[in-house]
């Protein structure tokens, strides 16, 4: 890390273009896994090779520019060919490239090490949140950016982890091999955590594999790196790595919470509590497309406020939220929102922004629509 910084500082000093204000963050992070350290070393090796080649090549160039200028009385020579020299300067770069390819191949093979993993996590990209399924554990998380809109708009001071904070980070144990399966529910996303040197595209209909083993507990932040539409810049990835015991405790707690959540389905819900809950769900899940006031962004994202056709047809409204619309940006939420959340958000949409249907959708009815 320090070597990298010194180097970056040197470079910045050479280019003389901007002041050095941060002690970190000029270079690729070394990271917290063996693979990320290997990648960092590789990056620095190639970088230094480029620096050396650059110094030699530009050295000769600038020497020629100063030494052989007409104003200094230079007279042009006649030569224009030299086979030996040409063969040499073709062969040397080739050998340098072979030398670069050898460690690169070794690192790449380590990245593709498919040996048995301790935990499997399925990562699904959605517009614009991440879903994490701990396979075989019955725990599912949805990870939304938690930076308040006011900070983005500039009406509130920006926090330390502006745009890089989420409500539910991916929690992983340290010193365990994790197999990450990546896929997408809509467009292509890419899941990237620089400190783990893992970047894998999440492609609809396909499952990609990558692996990691985190060495140190900590919170590691990254972002979606494949343009995925409007809020591509607002779907951060946060990984919280902890010791095994803590992780076990966390997992047990999550399982309990999931069970408790399922319990809420059976009882009768009132309008007030559904609207209250629905408003929160709407803000995290729906507002990015249908906008805060339900006005939408036509024609791609239709308005919900004053959408009479929708308000007249409760079944259609529920169908669209539960099952999505084929060939459009409207996703199916049957697998991503709980029955209570779906009931709440539909109730909210039907009783907000001047929509005054008075409809109350019961979670139990939704449950019946998505039961296996």
């Amino acid at each position: 890390m320090r070597k990298g910084f010194a180097l970056a500082a040197l470079l910045a000093g050479l280019s003389g273009q901007f002041p050095i204000s941060h002690a970190t963050g000029w270079n690729m992070p070394v990271g917290v896994s063996q693979v990320s350290r290997d990648v960092y070393d590789l990056h620095m090796i190639i970088f230094w090779i480029c620096v050396v080649i650059g110094v030699v090549v530009f050295g000769v160039m600038f020497y020629s520019l100063f030494r052989y200028r007409r104003s200094k009385g230079a007279k042009a020579a006649e030569f224009h060919e030299h086979t030996t020299v040409e063969v040499v300067w073709t062969a040397i770069p080739f050998l340098i490239l072979v030398a670069m390819a050898i460690p690169a191949t070794a690192t790449l093979k380590n990245m593709y090490d498919a040996s048995e993993a301790d935990y499997d996590v399925m990562i699904t990209g959605h517009q614009w949140r991440w879903q994490y399924d701990y396979m075989g554990e019955d725990v599912t998380l949805f990870s939304n950016m938690s930076t308040p809109k006011a900070q983005i708009a500039g009406t509130e001071e920006k926090g330390e982890h502006y745009l890089l904070e989420v409500d539910e980070p991916l929690v992983l144990p340290v010193d365990r091999k994790i197999r990450l399966l990546t896929t997408s529910a809509d467009v292509i996303h890419s899941w990237w955590v620089p400190d783990l040197a893992v970047k894998k595209d999440a492609i609809p209909g396909f499952v990609n594999e990558s692996w990691t083993r985190i060495d140190e507990p900590g919170i590691y932040r990254g972002q979606c790196t494949e343009l995925c539409g409007k809020d591509h810049g607002f779907m951060p990835v946060v990984v919280h790595a902890m010791e095994q015991e803590q992780f076990d405790a966390w997992l047990a707690e999550r399982k309990q919470a999931a069970a408790a959540e399922a319990g809420g389905v059976d009882r009768e819900w009132g309008l007030e509590e559904l609207v209250e809950r629905g408003e929160k769900v709407y803000a995290t899940v729906c507002a990015s497309c249908h906008q805060a006031e339900g006005q939408g962004l036509p024609p791609t994202f239709p308005a919900l406020a004053g959408n009479q056709a929708l308000m007249d047809d409760l079944d259609r409204h529920i169908d669209v939220v539960v099952n999505g619309v084929s060939g459009s940006a409207m996703a199916s939420f049957s697998g991503t929102l709980s029955p209570v959340d779906i009931a709440a958000v539909v109730t909210f949409e039907r009783n907000a922004w001047g929509n005054e249907t008075g409809d109350v959708v019961q979670p139990a009815d939704i449950q019946a629509l998505i039961a296996p």
Partner: protein, 57 residues
């Protein structure tokens, strides 16, 4: 034939003597050069792929 292959290889390598080059352009048939060029490009693909297979091995 061998001369053509040598010239195309030189082209792949990017180095050729002026004298040889003149000879090629004056005497050689373009078709032969293009054909050999495509074949050698294909050979290059095969070789690099074999190296990659071996390295992945």
């Amino acid at each position: 034939m061998w001369d053509v292959i040598k010239s195309v290889l030189a082209a792949f390598f990017g180095v050729q003597q002026d004298q040889r080059r003149r000879k090629d352009f004056e005497q050689g048939k373009p078709g032969a050069f293009i054909l050999i060029g495509i074949l050698l490009a294909f050979l290059l693909v095969v070789i690099v792929f074999a190296v990659a297979l071996m390295a992945a091995g």
